[in-house]
């Protein structure tokens, strides 16, 4: 039976040599290599659930009056878009499950990409010959952040409208071209023309997902062409020899199992743990906003940056050169992503290391890289936390203004301190290992000399 099928396909496609090689392609084994896989599986869940949602969503901002089953909103004016998402949540069978699963999958998607990025950074996996793979991955992350933002903006509840208002403010703040660019995207001043939602919709369900799929294909092809990196776990691994589990039979059930586990977890979350209860926020109007608004977690760093910036528009005479939101909303992410894109090149410049690397570093093996990475991480994390300082005020009563000032100082002080500590820890860990190895060698030598085997 199998033989017949294989013969049939090979005779008509000529792919037997390729499949034979693929079946025995090796996957080095380490838990951290699964983070990227989790991201891939989230993407699959997102496409599946998103397609279902698209069957019911309406991308229109036409004014309608709600008459659906959710009593508190009955009789309220809202856009058709918001009503269609309320209907997905309340009248479409399994609609709420799929919508919440989609939202959870988006949150986990970004989280797993980020953890994957941290793994790649701190183990030096981006080094020659894998720089292209790394840059493609970073680009996927950028597109994903935009994709997620547009996704929750399409709902047109109060929170998503506030998010769009801020997005518009950030677009306007781009020097020289901001207003022109925003006018292009929105079709005019905020909240824009009726064409704006269809634009977001095609971007969210076609342009960006297709872009992610293309980038992902290129990313994975490069991983396969150059083979995966590996840790030195025994004497067998080297820069030239890869050690791992073959695609079949070893890796296939593991990867399929992980795919199903990710999907299962997301569906469980979607069914049991409420996320973004849009019916509580109500419809968006330009003249309404709510206190305690928080974006999805992956945009928290930008909210924090927008909030930390002191009152300042950079003006030259009457000309506004740099409006305030530019610093937090554009300049800050540009610095972070600029750093990430340039890092492989920067490291090569400073260290002079131009060798090909298939073996990974442990973080302690490269104390300077670890120190710089930790400093960057602490910097972004503190700014992220600053975005939650209004919640801290509500829960713990610590003055908002006071917190902002602490953060304004801490983002300059904490990163160098963290870098120093990280560097020390790496050096000490390596020193400890060297002592340990020396002692083991001494024991072995003592044994070889016919001693009792215990060091004096």
């Amino acid at each position: 039976m199998i033989r017949k099928l294989v013969r049939f396909i090979d005779q008509r496609s000529g792919t037997a040599p390729f499949v034979r090689k693929t079946l025995r392609y090796l996957f080095p084994d380490h838990w951290s290599f699964l983070l990227g896989e989790v991201a891939l599986y989230c993407f699959i869940v997102l496409v599946a659930t998103g397609t279902y949602l698209a069957l019911f969503y309406t991308d229109s901002t036409a004014d309608v009056v709600y008459h659906g089953p959710y009593v508190p909103l009955q009789g309220q004016h809202m856009t058709e878009a918001y009503r269609s998402v309320l209907d997905i949540s309340f009248t479409v069978k399994a609609g709420l499950l799929i919508r919440q699963t989609h939202h959870w999958a988006a949150d986990l998607f970004v989280a797993s990409i980020l953890l994957h990025l941290l793994r790649v950074f701190f183990t030096g996996a981006y080094r020659k010959p894998r720089e292209l793979t790394y840059w493609l991955g970073l680009t996927i992350l950028t597109v994903t952040l935009l994709e997620g933002y547009i996704g929750y903006s399409l709902v047109d509840d109060l929170l998503s409208g506030m998010g769009l208002a801020i997005g518009n403010g950030v677009a306007l703040s781009i020097p020289f071209v901001g207003a022109n660019l925003a006018a292009l995207i929105w079709g005019g001043p905020f909240p824009g023309t009726s064409a704006f939602f269809p634009r977001m919709y095609i971007a969210h369900v076609f342009l960006f997902p297709a872009l992610i799929a293309v980038l992902l294909t290129a990313h994975l092809s490069l991983v396969a062409l150059k083979h995966h990196t590996q840790f030195r776990q025994s004497r067998r691994e080297s820069e030239r020899k890869i050690v791992g589990v073959p695609t079949f039979p070893g890796q296939t059930p593991r990867s399929l199992g992980l795919l199903l586990a990710v999907a299962g977890l997301l569906v469980l979350l979607g069914g049991l743990v409420q996320i973004n209860p849009i019916w509580l926020w109500g419809p968006f109007h330009t003249y309404i906003s709510t206190n305690g608004a928080q974006p999805d977690w992956y945009l928290g760093w930008l909210i924090g940056a927008l909030r930390l910036m002191p009152s300042w528009d950079w003006t030259v005479g009457n000309y506004t050169l740099v409006p305030n939101p530019f610093w937090g909303g554009v300049a800050f992410p540009l610095v972070v992503f600029g750093f990430l894109y340039l890092w492989p090149w920067l490291e090569r410049k400073v260290s002079g290391d131009r060798a090909v690397h298939n073996l990974l570093d442990r973080p302690r093996d490269a104390p300077w890289r670890t120190a710089v990475g930790v400093a960057m991480l602490v910097w972004v994390f503190l700014i992220f936390m600053a975005g939650a300082s209004d919640r801290v005020f509500v829960f713990f009563g610590i003055s908002y203004g006071w917190q902002i000032w602490v953060y304004r100082v801490a983002i300059f002080v904490a990163p160098p301190v963290a870098a120093f500590i990280a560097h020390r820890v790496c050096v000490e860990l390596r020193e400890g290992e060297r002592v340990e190895q020396g002692r083991e060698r001494a024991i072995a030598e003592a044994r070889a000399e016919g001693g009792a085997g215990e060091p004096a």
Binding site: I166, F190, G257, G264, G271, Y287, S289, L306, D313
Partner: protein, 333 residues
């Protein structure tokens, strides 16, 4: 009849459940590709059990979906599908760990580069141009054609919005004499505006969703008012009005911080809940905390003979978030 059914069931059961002895697939002298492992009957049973549970869960999902008016349908659907998927995942992981042989194989990393092929590619590219006499000009021509083609293809994107005309950004619906109405369209009387709270107002007969429309209106005590000279006369009996749209990022001002104990607490202030830009209504909407780089645009008010609030002119600056031209001109009614 019953006999026959029973026989059929037994035969079917035997067909499915019997342990088949694997037939030797290969002639004895051939090396196996996947090394043979020991039998794991208990792991096999566990995997089968997990598969069975998955089948039950998936069937339950369909059943819950089909049953109308079930309470907590979302939760049950999620539970059924989620547990089914997790159970299937567990079966596959048992398969991976115990039922297939885990091989740790070695292989060579692919060659870092292929100098010969590189050379062939370069030569192919270079030698292909042998008939060209003006190579540089030709490349320039190709580049120019490609560039202008790109420009031509991008040009229609300008239809997306008014990319050059910036007038819409200055336009506001407020002009002298317009009454202030509430969300339901009722005009505000000056006597209805109390201290210690804020009101949202719109221009009568205009679109409420326009950024230039919504106002935040508060009443201050005369002793608190400290308007700068350019805003002198903007207040009407202590009532002041500002654009409700924050000049930082365009959210609506939704908080009015009034002092609960005036001697110790800060002054009343208008706060935007997005990034906590804080404006002082007593001094004409100046920024006292937070990121906003411009004061709130203020609208001059008057009270007509019947006691209704009306605009006495338009805003003292453009509304909404800052952009490059926001300080070049004033708001235009």
């Amino acid at each position: 009849m019953r006999e026959r059914l029973r026989t059929a069931a037994v035969v079917l059961g035997l067909l499915v459940l019997r342990r088949r002895r694997p037939e030797p697939l290969l002639p004895a002298e051939q090396e196996p590709i996947v090394p043979e492992g020991s039998k794991q009957p208990r792991a096999e049973l566990l995997a089968l059990g997990l598969l069975l549970f998955a089948v039950v869960c998936f069937a339950a999902f369909v059943a819950v979906y089909a049953l109308d008016r079930l309470p907590r349908q979302t939760q049950l659907l999620g539970l059924a599908l989620g547990l089914g998927l997790l159970s299937l995942a567990a079966a596959l992981i048992v398969t991976a760990k115990r039922l297939v042989v885990t091989e740790e194989l070695e292989d060579d990393y692919p060659a870092f580069e292929h100098p010969e092929e590189q050379e062939t590619i370069v030569r192919t590219a270079e030698e292909s141009g042998s008939r060209l006499t003006r190579r540089r000009l030709f490349a320039l021509g190709l580049g120019a054609a490609g560039g202008t083609l790109g420009l031509a293809l991008l040009a229609p994107l300008a239809s997306l919005g008014p990319v050059i005309d910036m007038n819409p950004f200055y336009r506001v619906p407020w002009r002298r004499g317009r009454r202030l109405i509430d969300e339901d369209g009722r005009p505000y009387r000056a006597s209805e505006i109390d201290e210690g709270t804020f009101y949202t107002a719109f221009p009568e007969g205009a679109d409420k969703e326009e950024l230039g429309s919504p106002l935040v209106v508060v009443r201050l005590r005369q002793s608190e008012l400290d308007l700068p000279p350019e805003n002198a006369g903007y207040a009407a009996r202590g009532i002041v009005a500002f654009s409700k749209i924050c000049t930082h990022a365009g959210c609506a001002i939704a908080l009015y911080r009034t002092p609960l104990y005036p001697p110790a607490e800060p002054k009343p202030a208008l706060v935007c809940p997005c990034h906590y830009s804080t404006f002082d209504p007593a001094t004409g909407g100046t920024v006292i905390f937070g990121p906003a780089g411009r004061k709130l645009p203020m609208l001059p008010l008057t009270i007509d003979r019947r006691g209704y609030l009306r605009a006495a002119g338009t805003f003292d600056g453009p509304v909404g978030p800052s952009w490059w031209g926001v300080r070049n001109r004033g708001a235009k009614a």
